[in-house]
Symmetry: C2
Subunit: 307 residues, 2 copies
Amino acid sequence: MTTATATDFAKRLDQTAEDTEALLAKLLSDTLLPDEIARPKRLMEAMRYSSLGGGKRLRPFLVVESSALFGVPREAALLAGAALECIHCYSLIHDDLPAMDNSDLRRGRPTLHKKTDDATAILAGDGLLTLAFDIITRDELHNDPTVRLLLTRALARASGIGGMVGGQMLDLAGEGRFGDREPVDVARLQQMKTGALLRYGCIAGAILGQSTPAQYQALDDYGRALGEAFQIADDLLDVEGDAAALGKQTGQDAALGKTTFVTQLGIDGAKQRVRDLLAKADSALSIFGAKGDVLRAAARFVADRKS
Amino acid sequence: MTTATATDFAKRLDQTAEDTEALLAKLLSDTLLPDEIARPKRLMEAMRYSSLGGGKRLRPFLVVESSALFGVPREAALLAGAALECIHCYSLIHDDLPAMDNSDLRRGRPTLHKKTDDATAILAGDGLLTLAFDIITRDELHNDPTVRLLLTRALARASGIGGMVGGQMLDLAGEGRFGDREPVDVARLQQMKTGALLRYGCIAGAILGQSTPAQYQALDDYGRALGEAFQIADDLLDVEGDAAALGKQTGQDAALGKTTFVTQLGIDGAKQRVRDLLAKADSALSIFGAKGDVLRAAARFVADRKS
């Protein structure tokens, strides 16, 4: 990647994070509810606490950049990205709960249930999950209702039991949370747990842009490679990363005795696998020529990130 | 209501409960996920435990009967009803959690978190909530995608922070769970907490049937009256009901010192309010003539139920 591209990538990532923050703030403002509805203020504050004020907004960025390949209006892509980010934020809230991963810190701040209480955190998660489906059906996304329906159903599939929720369950079972440790196929598990939402970010552009089947497949392949690279980087950071930069504890996987890409492949093997995945991501994007450079840079960013 | 109508009503209610049970069993079977997805078995069993084997299936019944007014195919109405029931079942799972209402029994059986554990219950709830949005977007519901989108968005609104989730939060705040007891407007709170989903069952038929605005308004008015009557009956059962018939403890509201329709109106006042609401429900249905009789009977059933 040339320096010019790297700078361009960083600028674009920052701009989308900024735009997503502003959009989420608007979506979660008090104007969300009509005046005749009694406002559950504590709930809305909790949803804002967990959705605003940070994060790289990688998932919305993938939606925006995959959409840009097809000239989809930026406003529409940002809206789809915001829906996806609501799903991501809800999953963090529920995963952090004492009954799940029992985490006290997230992005260097107290997790929502530490800041408030478990009931508020459960409901704020439910609220964000539901809000995502309110947002993803909106008229502003696309004038063809079939496109909005496809986007909606794909989001439900990526988030549900065959996607993120199912992956989280398999992960807990693999930790031995329900009796004996269940055997884990790390690649399949992570394809569900973290991969499905990242992949959704990539195919969302193809759906919004009414791509050809070949273009859809290219973004699907790219999204899968990026998702796996993301998770391997995560596993490597848990071993080699800096807790301060991460804003959370490292060494968690080892403490839990978890099967990860690193325990399966070793550190060097995991790093080699990341390089292979980057090559795969690059080649999947060849159908888009130079227009695919931002997404190429995104894959490198995901693989090399320090937090 | 004549005896003939009462029998007819009971038969129709039973038939829809049976059909809904069969449909949910199919929707939640192992064929739900394609073969290449790793199956989170514990999660799917948990979702089945909480969704199958009981309940009056009142919400699906409202969808089926409001749809019947417009000659909507029964299969389509049952599918929309199943999506709504998934939302209802998820809300019971999450509400029963120790962090929320801490209930051990539901329909005379251990609640899901007692049967399994809190993490499984949180994820099963998330899974059912997400599955509802998968179901409600399906092609079989209606050949016009705009209709499916309207149904989907209305479901998100009824379930979300301006509906069920928001109502649950206000209810907890009213119990003094987050410090001082917050003042409660029972009618508004319950319109959100329990009313929104019941009302959705009624307007779903109007949406699927592409009704006139006047017909939609009639079902909306009917649904609101039915929803309030349902909750007042619930509050009365907590005071006067039989725990064995209910399959759960009575006297819970008083133990929590909750503001309910009964504490606000007194027992006699609450019963009078139910009679007024039934009259309102009846009159809202006048636009449908004799075709509205089943829904009239449904309102009476809801108001008079003993469990």
